[in-house]
């Protein structure tokens, strides 16, 4: 209350006595409009403002000043239909978003698919399925594409011209590899204890069938990989 009185005194000075019976000074009215617009859950009409403010107040005029005061600020006084509200400045909308980044481990299916693409690229979906022994869900490939760890390679020049997948630069960056050829070969995997020392059962994957394009590229790396 003390603030209120002080302002009233300084601004109206000699008219203090009069102001007891008349509407509060415009500066005060502006404060009132400001407080009401701030605290009210809905936009407020001029009539509602006048009804709530002391007798004789002119909310419409106070709104003009208040609107001007908030020009260019972080929040603005805006007209909503025939009512008024204080709203965040449109250019600051981005602050009203809070991005939470959640780190999750890639699923096993995704890791395996990714591994096959990395070791066998360029590789078709059919080949991935053959190697994994299970069908590859669309979601898994989409996820890897979305993460930009794999991308489409050239179409295979075989019947149906299937698309191939290759790994991206992002992939190499994430795993700290200069090229896909730097991926450790089977020998190294075994030495690292990741492969058991016994011949892998089953057949070798059918590599690079009719894969003319990348033959030279991959041959070297893969001959090492698939020495078994």
């Amino acid at each position: 209350m003390s603030d209120d009185t002080e302002i009233a005194e300084t601004e109206t000075d000699g008219e203090l006595e009069q102001s007891l019976f008349e509407a509060p000074p415009m500066g005060e009215q502006e404060r009132m409009v400001e407080a009401i617009l701030f605290a009210t859950a809905e936009p407020v009409t001029v009539k509602e403002l006048n009804d709530r403010m002391p007798h004789g107040s002119d909310a419409a005029e106070a709104l003009v000043y208040l609107r001007k005061r908030y020009e260019g600020r972080g929040v603005n006084v805006v007209k909503v239909g025939d009512a008024w509200a204080i709203r965040t400045a449109p250019d600051l909308g981005f602050l009203m978003q809070k991005e939470t980044v959640e780190t999750r481990k890639l699923s096993r299916a995704a890791i395996e698919t990714l591994a096959i693409i990395a070791y066998h690229q360029p590789v078709t979906r059919a080949e991935i399925e053959e190697i994994r022994g299970v069908s590859v869900s669309r979601g898994t490939v989409d996820q890897l594409l979305e993460m930009e760890w794999i991308r489409f390679g050239r179409r295979r020049m075989t019947p149906g011209r299937p698309v191939t997948f290759v790994v991206t630069q992002d992939f190499l960056d994430h795993f700290g590899l200069e090229s896909a050829r730097d991926l450790p070969g089977l020998k190294e995997l075994r030495a690292a204890g990741l492969l058991e020392n016994r011949p892998p059962p089953g057949t070798l994957p059918q590599m690079g069938e009719g894969d003319v394009d990348s033959e030279e590229e991959t041959e070297e790396g893969q001959s090492e990989l698939f020495e078994d």
Partner: protein
């Protein structure tokens, strides 16, 4: 004497009135300390100058009244009464040098402290509630703008994950904690079962190695396990009296024959 009597009756009347007023809303008291605080107000002095002795007497009188009016007082009121009676005696009697523990003055001072502290808490509680309050005197934002939570999921994998994943496919094997691989083991139970089904035909001496399961002679590990199991099973059958065993020489083949009849 006369004066004293009238004095006494006057104060008795006043006390009785006070006590009755108190008794009416005895439920309104939040425990004995609260009651003491209320009683202390009748002394109309600063709590720091309160006569604890007088207060103790007031309290005891109150409890007596309650008893006379057959008002059940909660146990803690009675505990306080007992303690105040003890305090009163300590304050009135000359200190007994043989007695240990705090003096009557110490106890009285602490009680006064407790009362003052409770009163102080009540005062500040009132001050607190008299403050401007949110939602009553000042207000928060009416239209709140929800902060949109944009949930971004970032997937990660390590090179090791990748290598393990690949190795897993290449070996078509799980990477799992070490467990005994049982598939190269032929158990004695298996051998027994197999031999029980076969000994019916062993009318003549037969090398026990002929009872070995099919195909177990290729892999040395499996061969070893099957041999041991078959031998142990033979011993078991001999013990049961089902078969006889013989061996012509050290390392010579062990032979087995069905034991008939008996």
């Amino acid at each position: 004497m006369n004066d004293a009597t009238s004095d006494r009756s006057d104060s008795a009347v006043a006390e009785r009135l006070a006590a009755e007023a108190l008794i009416v809303d005895v439920d309104g008291f939040e425990g004995p300390l609260d009651l003491l605080l209320t009683l202390s107000r009748t002394q109309k002095v600063d709590l720091r100058k309160i006569s604890v002795l007088h207060l103790a007497q007031q309290y005891l009188a109150f409890v007596e009244k309650a008893k006379a009016l057959r008002i059940e007082l909660a146990a803690d009121y009675l505990v306080m009464a007992a303690w105040l009676a003890f305090l009163k005696s300590r304050l009135l009697l000359p200190p007994d040098p043989s007695e240990e523990g705090p003096s009557g003055e110490d106890l009285a001072a602490h009680l006064a402290f407790q009362l003052e502290r409770l009163q102080a808490m009540r005062d500040v509680a009132a001050k607190l509630m008299a403050r401007d309050q949110l939602g009553r005197d000042f207000f928060a934002r009416g239209i709140t703008q929800e902060v949109q939570r944009v949930r971004k999921v970032e997937y990660t994998a390590t090179l090791l994950d990748l290598m393990q994943g690949y190795a897993r496919i290449r070996t078509k094997d799980e990477f799992r904690p070490f467990v005994m691989d049982r598939d190269a083991v032929f158990t004695m139970e298996q051998a027994l079962e197999r031999m029980r089904g076969l000994i019916g035909f062993a009318g003549t001496w037969t090398d026990i190695s002929s009872y070995m399961p099919d195909g177990w002679d290729v892999d040395p590990v499996r061969w070893r396990s099957a041999t041991a199991a078959t031998f142990a099973a033979s011993l078991e059958l001999a013990k049961e009296g089902k078969v006889e065993l013989r061996q012509s020489d050290t390392f010579a083949p062990i032979e087995l024959r069905r034991r008939d009849g008996r």
